[in-house]
Structures are given as structure tokens and as C-alpha cells.
């Protein structure tokens, strides 16, 4: 009997915690039974509520959510910037080069973003051309010097009158002539 009252007070406490759940009102607190699931109230709304058993699409939806998030993270600012540039700055128009005016190297491009990239990051094509010519000149001089060196080696080895390929002769004072100094050795 005491246990019964403990159970009843525990069930009342649980009912107070979630009063809206069915079966939690005072009338059927201890004598409630499990709800029947085969006789459900059918109201003419969206039809009978079905519990559709299908495999989890959580991972697929999470992937698509993350994909859209990370593409739009840089996509939206870029789209806004590019639209703003195209609307407010606009593409350049082709005009005849005026007399005695040397255009800067970025003024040969049409789109404003291309002009900005050419102005900020790239060297002018004239400078690139000169850099290439300088590299070729250096390599040509190196090749010419190597050929000259080979020719000088050949000449000096052959004629023997240059500073290279000189073999030091022995010091005559170091030669011991004692084995051959008398004819009877």
C-alpha cells in the first residue's frame, strides 16, 4: 500500500512534468493502457499519417547542404563584385591611339578586371620580351665562352706554348746518379 502511494506520487510527478502528453491527466493516471495504433483518428486533411520506412537521407542532405554553403561562401561575393564592376565601371571602348601618346601596357585590354590584373600583378609585355632577350644573350655569351675555352685548350695542348698543360720537370739536383756514375756497377 505504501508502495502503491509511492508509485502514484511518482506518476503524478511525471505527469506534472509533461502534462500535454496523452494519458497524463488525473483521470487515467494509474489505470492507463497502451494506445491502440490500429484504430487511429483519420481526419480529412492530408490523408492518413504514414510512417514511411526508408534509408536515411541525412548524409546526402548534409553533403548537399555543405556543398552549397562552401560554394556560395566565395561565390556570392565574387558574383556581387563582378556584377558591380561590369555595371559601374564597364568595359573599355576601342579608340585610335592619339599622336605622341604611349599607352601604358594595361591600356591595351578591354575588360576592367583584366586591366587591373595587368596593372597590379603582371609585368608589361615589353619588359617580358626584354627579360627573355637578356636571358638569351646571357646564355649565348656563356656558350661562346665555353667554345672559346675548348678551342684554347686544344691549341695549348697541341702547341704547348701556353700556360696550360705544362708538366713540371724534375729537379736535377734530386737525381741520384750513383748507380750509373762508374762503368763497372
Amino acid at each position: 500500500m505504501v508502495g502503491m502511494s509511492v508509485l502514484r506520487s511518482a506518476a503524478a510527478f511525471a505527469a506534472r512534468l509533461s502534462p500535454l502528453k496523452s494519458g497524463n491527466n488525473a483521470a487515467n493516471l494509474l489505470s492507463r493502457t497502451v494506445t491502440r495504433t490500429d484504430k487511429v483518428a483519420v481526419r480529412w486533411g492530408h490523408g492518413k499519417n504514414m510512417f514511411i520506412i526508408k534509408p536515411s537521407d541525412f548524409y546526402d542532405r548534409r553533403f548537399l547542404r555543405l556543398l552549397t554553403f562552401y560554394t556560395l561562401l566565395t561565390g556570392i561575393p565574387m558574383a556581387v563584385i563582378i556584377t558591380g564592376v561590369n555595371v559601374f565601371v564597364g568595359e573599355a571602348e576601342l579608340v585610335e591611339t592619339p599622336e605622341d601618346y604611349e599607352p601604358e601596357h594595361w591600356e591595351y585590354y578591354k575588360h576592367p578586371i583584366t586591366r587591373w590584373i595587368a596593372r597590379t600583378f603582371y609585368d608589361s609585355p615589353v619588359k617580358d620580351y626584354e627579360k627573355m632577350l637578356a636571358a638569351i644573350q646571357i646564355e649565348k655569351e656563356k656558350a661562346d665562352m665555353r667554345l672559346n675555352q675548348l678551342e684554347a685548350r686544344r691549341q695549348m695542348r697541341q702547341k704547348g706554348d701556353g700556360p696550360w698543360f705544362q708538366v713540371d720537370t724534375l729537379n736535377k739536383e734530386l737525381i741520384d746518379n750513383s748507380p750509373k756514375s762508374t762503368p763497372d756497377n
Binding site: 555595371v87 564597364g90 573599355a92 599607352p103 591595351y108 627573355m132 632577350l133 638569351i136 646564355e139 649565348k140
Partner: protein, 171 residues
């Protein structure tokens, strides 16, 4: 959006549609439809373009056409002057691009002519066809089978072979 190309450079032939003489009092449905299209599509689009263009009226950037100086050719370079070779090679590459664009322009003219004339293109486009065949023949002779790694040297060697063949044929 950039301006359209210069229409006087490649003029289209004058239109030959006859002037329509109205003989009835009924309204012409084609005129009604064209006016409907004009007011519903053309006017809003043009005003939108005008609004957008008004933002750029103050500072319009301009761009110029780059002109390159002529440098000595590959035939005028001394043996072993690699800087001269490089400049001649770059000039040959620029001329190659220009020739490719020339062929494209002539092709485009022939295509436009065929589209205009419709089924009678073989008679009416004879001038364009002759120009096209001549241009492509010369292009094929000069740059024909040089391949992907074409260079000024290979083109010069091809020219030498052509001249040898021409001399052998005439001799």
C-alpha cells in the same frame, strides 16, 4: 556590352523587299504584333540598358590597338645570333596569328553570303567563293603541314622546299 562592329566595313547588299501597298481597311496583324513586341520587350530592355549605362557616363575607360614595329626577318639574321632569332620568331608568330584571323574573316564573309542568298548562293556568291578558295590555298601552301610545334625556321624550310620544287618544275 561592347559596341557592335563597324557596319560600313563589310556592307550587306541593299534590301530588296518590295514596299507594301495597303488595299484594305482591316488592321494588319503583323504590324500589331510587332508593335506589341516593341512596347512589351524592346522599350523596357532599352530603358534598362540606358539606366545601367548612365552609371558609366562620367568615366569611360578606353583601350588602344597595339602596333608592333617590324624587326629583321629570319633571313636577315647572322648565324648564331640567338637574340635576332628570337625577335624574328616572335614576329613570325604574330604574323601567323594575323593570317589565321584573315582566313577566319574571309570564311565569315562566305558564310554570311551563303546565308543571305539562300538557295541561289552558288551563282551570287562567286566573288566570295573565289576569294575564299584563293586565301585558303595560299594559307595551306605557307602554313599548311607545319604541325603544332610550328616555328619560323620550319616555315622558312617549307618555303625553301617550295622554291626548289618550283625551280625543278620550271627547269
Amino acid at each position: 556590352m561592347p559596341a557592335d562592329h563597324d557596319k560600313d566595313a563589310y556592307p550587306e547588299p541593299p534590301r530588296q523587299t518590295p514596299v507594301a501597298e495597303k488595299q484594305t481597311a482591316l488592321p494588319n496583324p503583323a504590324v500589331i504584333l510587332s508593335q506589341l513586341f516593341y512596347y512589351s520587350v524592346d522599350v523596357p530592355v532599352t530603358t534598362f540598358r540606358g539606366v545601367i549605362d548612365s552609371f558609366r557616363d562620367n568615366n569611360k575607360p578606353v583601350y588602344y590597338h597595339q602596333k608592333y614595329r617590324r624587326v629583321p626577318d629570319l633571313t636577315e639574321c647572322q648565324e648564331g645570333e640567338y637574340t635576332c632569332y628570337y625577335e624574328a620568331e616572335m614576329q613570325w608568330r604574330r604574323d601567323f596569328k594575323v593570317d589565321q584571323e584573315i582566313v577566319k574573316v574571309v570564311q565569315e564573309r562566305l558564310r554570311a553570303c551563303q546565308q543571305r542568298e539562300g538557295n541561289s548562293y552558288q551563282q551570287n556568291c562567286a566573288k566570295e567563293m573565289q576569294q575564299f578558295s584563293e586565301t585558303t590555298k595560299n594559307y595551306q601552301l605557307r602554313y599548311g603541314d607545319l604541325g603544332a610545334y610550328a616555328s619560323a625556321r620550319k616555315c622558312l624550310m617549307k618555303q625553301k622546299e617550295r622554291m626548289i620544287a618550283a625551280q625543278a618544275q620550271s627547269a
